[in-house]
Amino acid sequence: PAPPGPAAALLQALGLPDVHRGAPKPRPVPPVMWRLFRHRDPQEARVGPRRTPQGTTLRPCHVEELGVAGNIVRHIPDRGAPTRPPEPAWAAGQCPEWTVVFDLSAVEAAERPSRARLELRFAAAETAAGWELSLARAAEGEAGGARPVLLRQAVPTLGTPVRAELLGAAWARNASAPRSLRLALALRPRAPAACARLAEASLLLVTLDPRLCHPLARPRR
């Protein structure tokens, strides 16, 4: 049921306009989100002495650890994962292309993206002498055909997550976030080797909602 009265007003004040639908699908909280939370929230979940010494002020509206302006950080999972074939196709000696889909409908128009970091985890049957990642826009239901490459990036190893900055590549730096982001990505070995498999894709999006930012009080001259 919709929360009556003050709870709805508080949700509204916290920029959470719609009623939360209850228990979400259980999913582990990504370590990066825990790290950002612990770094940011002086009270954390503990009631009692503050972890950060009194008087330490973190810059408001700034995500220190990521070095950008922002007061909302979202970890957005890939919606395309369930429909992706489990094994890469080896046909025609080409490594497969994957389509990843990110639902950005929760981002409000007033929010200004300051960072959009794509994070990819691959599983490789064998080590190769380096890889090349390429990203292109994948339109709805579009099959094949050459599309302009948005980003090309050398990947030395698949042992750690592959990260790619999308701001300025997948959408203009000062534009508001699109409602949905569909990307076709390919990972090709630099020398003949077995293709890798995409295990997981996610997007870390940092936005600044100016309505929740108070201008810094000017120091007295």
Binding site: L14, P24, P42, R74, H75
Partner: protein, 119 residues
């Protein structure tokens, strides 16, 4: 949970009172990952002399508040006492699942009363 309010009685100088907001109490515990709640606190108490002069908690008194306290001491009916309000606030961050099952970290300014002052 709140420190018992003074209930309108004039006792007690203006100072920070403990108020803990539990997300379970407001029914958000299914989608708020952390924290479980936070110490919001609130301000209450008298801003009469000398509390107004010293500025409770070390916050520097506002001249206008001192003036009003002096006026009130001289002519109680003329003007009311200054108010006991938040003088210094700090932010909190909330980690939660949104309706699209994204994990979201939002930062909110001015959510915790650290110090109260007479204004």
């Amino acid at each position: 949970e709140a420190e018992p309010a003074l209930g309108g009685s004039p006792g007690g100088a203006c100072r920070t009172r403990r108020l803990y907001v539990s997300f379970r109490e407001v029914g958000w515990h299914r989608w708020v990952i952390a924290p479980r709640g936070f110490l919001a606190n609130y301000c209450q108490g008298q801003c009469s002399l000398p509390a107004t002069l010293s500025g409770p908690g070390g916050t520097p008194p506002l001249n206008h508040a001192v003036l009003r306290a002096l006026m009130h001491a001289a002519a109680p009916g003329a003007a009311g006492l200054p108010c006991c309000v938040p003088a210094r606030l700090s932010p909190i961050s909330v980690l939660f699942f949104d309706n699209s099952d994204n994990v979201v970290l939002r930062h909110y300014e001015d959510m915790v009363v650290d110090e109260c002052g007479c204004r």
